[in-house]
Amino acid sequence: MPAQGRDGQNRFIEFAIIVVVVVMQQAPVSDLSVLERQRLHFDWQQQEQPSRHSYDADLCVRSLNSFTCFSNGLPDLAQYSMPVASNFEEAGVAASNCNPKRRKAESSPKSKQDESNCKRGKQERRSESRQQNNRKEASGDTSSYKNEEHPKADYIHVRARRGQATDSHSLAERVRRERISQRMKYLQELVPGCSKITGKAGMLDEIINYVQSLQRQVEFLSMKLAAVNPLAADNNFSNCSMGISSEPMEQPFLHFNSLQAHPCSGLDMYMDSSSDLVPDGSSFVSCSALNSLYGVEFQLGRGTAAFPFQSFQGNLLPNNLKMEI
C-alpha cells in the first residue's frame, strides 16, 4: 500500500474518529454494567481477530467507538462508523492498542507510534492514557482493567456533576444521623432493659412498648384511685395544700431534708405545723399521704426503690397516732 494514501487515509480516519467520539460523548450514559461492556467488547474483538489485516481500520474505529460507545451505553453507533474506516496498518495497530489482550503481544515502539497517532482529541487522549495505564498495571488482568475503566469513565461523564452535590447532602445526612443516634442513646438510658438491644428497629419497638405500658399504668392507677378514696371530704385538704403552696416552698422541703436524717423529728415539726391548720381527722389521710409522698419523692430522686418507703411508713404511723391521741 502506498504511504501517502495511507497518511491521507490516516488523517481522514482519525478525524472521523474524533467526530464520532465527540458525538458520542454527548450521549447519555446507559446502565450497562462493566462486565457486560467488556464481554461485548471482547466478543467483538474475537470476532474480528481472524480478519485482522483487511479490517484494521475498521477495528481501530470500531474499537474506539465501541469503547466510547460502551462507556456511553450506545453500542449501535459502532456500526455507524464502519463505512468510514479503511485499511491501513497503523490504524489496525492503534486498534490493537485499544484491545487490552493484544497489548501484551505488541512491541513497545510500535505501540508508542500508534499512541502518538491516535492522540488528537481530548477524549482520545483520555482513552489512550487510560489504556497506557492499564497496559502498565494490568498484566493479563482484565478485571483490573474493568475496575479502572469503570470509575474513570463514570467519574468523567456522570460523577463529576454529582460529586459537588453529594458532599453537602452527605454532610447534612451524616449530621442528621449522628443526632438521631445521640437521641436513641439517650432513650436507651431512659427505657429500662434497652441496653442489650442494638439497632434502631428493636429500640423503637421497646420504646413504643414502654410508652404504651406507662399509659396503661396511668389508666389503671387512676381507676384504682377513684375506687380507693371515694369518701374523702377534702375541703380541708385543699386548704392545707393551699397553705403549703402559699408558703415559701423551701421550708417544708428543708424539713423533709432533715427528715431523711431523723425521720421522727422532722415529722413532728411538719405535723405540728399542719395540725395547727387542720385539726380534722380527714386531713390526716391527706397529710400522711403528702408526707409519704415527699419522702418517697426525695428518695426516688436519688433513684432508690420503694422499699425505704415502707420502712418510713412504719416510722410515720406511730407518730401520727400519737399526734392524733
Binding site: 442528621r176 384511685l225 391527706s286 420503694a306
Partner: protein, 157 residues
C-alpha cells in the same frame, strides 16, 4: 371543678421550671385530685371519676413540664379542648407545618403515642419522646405512691 383546677395550673405555667421539681407535680396532682373528688363523691360513678383523675394526671404532668415542650402544649390543648368549646380564641394556630408521610410503621406508631407528634421531624420526635417518657414514668410513680399510702392507711384503720 375541672375548669378551676386547670385554671390554677395554667396560672403557674409561666415558670420555666423543668420537670425535675417532683414536689410541684405532686402538689398539683393532689390538688387536682381533691377537686375531682369534691365534685361529687357519691353522685358520679367510679368510671367517671377515674376518667377525671386520668385527665387531671395528664394535665398536671403537662403543666409541670412547662410550655417549652411541644408534647406538653399539645397535651394541654387536647385536654382543654372540651371545656373551652365556646371560648376559643380567634388565634391563627399553624397546626400542621409538615405533614410527614411516614413509611416506617414504628415511627408512625411513635408519632401516635407521643402527644403532638404528628408534625415533628424525626429528631425532634425522639427528643420529645424521651422527655415524655421521663415525665410519664414520674407520674406513674407518683400515682403509685399515692395509691399505696392511701390503701395502707385504709388498711390500718
Amino acid at each position: 371543678m375541672y375548669r378551676r383546677s386547670f385554671k390554677d395550673t395554667k396560672s403557674s405555667l409561666g415558670s420555666p421550671n423543668p420537670n425535675f421539681s417532683k414536689p410541684m407535680v405532686a402538689l398539683r396532682f393532689l390538688r387536682a385530685l381533691s377537686l375531682v373528688r369534691c365534685s361529687g363523691p357519691g353522685a358520679r360513678s367510679p368510671s367517671y371519676r377515674a376518667r377525671g383523675i386520668r385527665r387531671a394526671a395528664y394535665a398536671c404532668m403537662a403543666a409541670s413540664a412547662g410550655p417549652r415542650r411541644a408534647w406538653s402544649r399539645a397535651l394541654l390543648r387536647k385536654i382543654r379542648r372540651r371545656p373551652g368549646r365556646g371560648l376559643r380564641r380567634p388565634r391563627a394556630v399553624i397546626r400542621r407545618r409538615r405533614p410527614v408521610g411516614g413509611g416506617d410503621p414504628l415511627e408512625v406508631a411513635l408519632r401516635r403515642l407521643v402527644p403532638g407528634g404528628g408534625c415533628m421531624e424525626y429528631c425532634r420526635l425522639l427528643e420529645e419522646a424521651a422527655d415524655y417518657v421521663k415525665c410519664l414514668a414520674m407520674q406513674v410513680r407518683l400515682m403509685q405512691t399515692i395509691v399505696d399510702s392511701a390503701s395502707h392507711v385504709n388498711s390500718i384503720d
